[in-house]
């Protein structure tokens, strides 16, 4: 578990990372309640998915760095498989983000927010954590520089959040946009949030999480193709 342990160390040694990982969840807990019936959850919980995407691109950036600096090449000469390198890094990112999710859910509960089904919300966020890590992994595989990947992904996050119905109610979008929204993982996150507040059929919730996991698998495959160069 050397790569896992040192991935955690490397992430937590970066002061900006620590700032993002601590301040943002706290801010999410203390953001005010929504006005006029939308969003259904407190603002911090509606936008938490955006935060997860943001954190995941930041964390997975260390893998671009490894590629840029030749660490991946050096590890290819070592008795460790690329698969091992990949899953231990992904595990480190997941552990950090799951802890963050747990803090946000427990924090919200203690603060007194109405979270409807906190367990279901935790499950949804954790599943979306895997999706966002995979998307970031695939995204980073397209870039040689951590900085350009991060900057362009910021715009992509905003676009996905807008079109997926995280920032505005889907009904406010033109019909064509509403139809294409299903291709964005953020759409399924907002559907999940809606189900937690209003849904009844457990099968719908399973379906939503299943779609998010399929996205995770798809992007994981894309992201793991690029190795050394």
């Amino acid at each position: 578990m050397t790569i896992f342990i040192f991935a955690l160390k490397r992430i937590l040694r970066d002061k900006t990372n620590v700032l993002f990982l601590t301040l943002f969840p706290i801010a999410a807990i203390f953001l005010p309640l929504a006005q006029e019936g939308w969003p259904l959850l407190p603002l911090g919980y509606q936008y938490f998915g955006v935060l997860l995407l943001f954190v995941s691109i930041r964390l997975t950036g260390i893998m671009i760095e490894d590629r840029q600096k030749g660490v991946v090449k050096r590890l290819a000469a070592a008795p460790i498989s690329h698969f091992n390198y990949l899953w231990q890094n992904l595990l480190a990112f997941s552990v950090i983000m799951v802890i963050q999710t747990v803090i946000v859910i427990i924090g919200g509960h203690v603060y007194g927010h109405e979270l409807y089904g906190p367990w279901n919300l935790a499950i949804l966020y954790i599943v979306f954590t895997f999706t966002s890590i995979s998307i970031s992994l695939a995204w980073n595989s397209l870039y040689r520089s951590k900085e350009s990947s991060f900057l362009i992904f910021m715009a992509v996050i905003v676009l996905m959040a807008l079109l997926g119905g995280i920032l505005f109610p889907m009904e406010m979008m033109p019909e064509a946009f509403q139809r294409i929204a299903v291709i964005f993982p953020t759409y399924w996150l907002s559907e999940g949030i809606e189900w937690i507040v209003l849904g009844e059929d457990r099968g719908d919730f399973l379906f939503i999480n299943g779609v998010l996991l399929l996205y995770a698998l798809f992007f994981l495959i894309i992201g793991s193709i690029r190795r050394i160069s």
Partner: protein, 316 residues
């Protein structure tokens, strides 16, 4: 004993041929200097040998085992010092070594001890708890080398380990390489710096355009291209020098006088320095002597038609 044997390796990148039926043996305990101009195929050869990239044709035998470059057990016996400095700036020097030691399967007390030894070996013990971002270029290079040493590799491959560092750090690294050889490590050393190869390599292989074009000891390589020897003797009184006696020496092709300097040109390997000197000393005082001998740079230039240090930045 041959530790690695490369036979007829071919590696293509689309239409471009990077390695063209390369044959190469690395013998146990030697420092093999791998020289070649940019794009010659040195790095590709190293990457094939380390199992980093696959090759199209040929066989690589490692530690007596055929086709074993991708076996983890063999990778444990090999170390790679990359041309790039592949250390983590977020971690301390000690943690960097612990990371690579862990990757090579070391644990517990053994890992601790090896990390300590590696830090001592490269002279960074006092900086163990510092981050490499506070290090000079030379110190980073030394740490980069130490990362490949914790698991005590039998075969150490060093890809341009002294690029861009000060002479003091370079000397430190070259001393370390000699020490490793004394300890029994076999080393494959690539560099642009001819004087490094000349000072540490027991054998040299020159590659160009994906082919091995020459190999042997430094002296053998020089001998192969050397057609004549030149001796310059600066004397007190040139008029007294017995030019005809000098011309009569075996192998001497020409004797010229220019100012106070007598220039003697002989066939390669004639070994006329001592004889010429004693003749000159009989009639005149000697102010200075210079024997012009080709060096590895001349060998390289003769064989490849290229200067070795052109475009040092190119990694291949």
């Amino acid at each position: 004993m041959t530790i690695a044997s490369i036979k007829g390796i071919v590696k293509r990148y689309k239409d471009q041929i990077a390695l063209d039926y390369v044959d190469l043996d690395i013998h146990e305990g030697e420092i093999l200097g791998l020289l070649g101009p940019n794009g010659a195929g040195k790095t590709t050869l190293i990457q094939c040998l380390m199992g980093i990239i696959p090759f199209d044709k040929g066989v690589i035998q490692l530690f007596g085992e055929e086709g074993a470059v991708f076996h983890h057990e063999n990778k444990k016996k090999m170390g790679l010092v990359t041309q790039e400095i592949t250390v983590f700036e977020e971690l301390t020097a000690k943690e960097n070594l612990e990371f690579f030691a862990g990757v090579y399967g070391l644990k517990g007390e053994e890992k601790k001890q090896r990390v300590k030894e590696a830090l001592e070996f490269v002279g960074l013990s006092s900086k163990a708890k510092q981050s490499p971002n506070k290090f000079s270029g030379g110190m980073k290079r030394r740490l980069n080398i130490a990362c490949a040493l914790t698991h005590r590799p039998k075969l150490l491959i060093m890809d341009e380990p002294t690029v861009g560092i000060d002479p003091q750090s370079r000397n430190h690294i070259l001393d370390a390489v000699r020490k490793l050889k004394e300890q029994g490590t076999t080393i494959l050393y690539t560099t642009h710096y001819m004087e490094e190869v000349q000072s540490i390599a027991t054998r040299v292989v020159i590659v160009d355009q994906g082919q091995v074009i020459s190999e042997g000891t430094v002296d053998e390589l020089i001998k192969n291209i050397q057609h004549e020897e030149k001796i310059f003797i600066d004397v007190n009184d040139v008029s007294t020098i017995p030019i005809e006696r000098l011309r009569g020496l075996e192998g001497v092709k020409q004797v010229q006088v220019s100012g106070s300097v007598v220039q003697i040109i002989s066939n390669a390997g004639a070994g006329n320095l001592d004889r010429a000197l004693s003749i000159v000393k009989e009639t005149s005082g000697v102010v200075g002597i210079q024997a012009e001998k080709p060096n590895l740079e001349d060998v390289f230039l003769t064989l490849t038609g290229k200067q070795l240090r052109d475009g040092e930045d190119d990694p291949s």
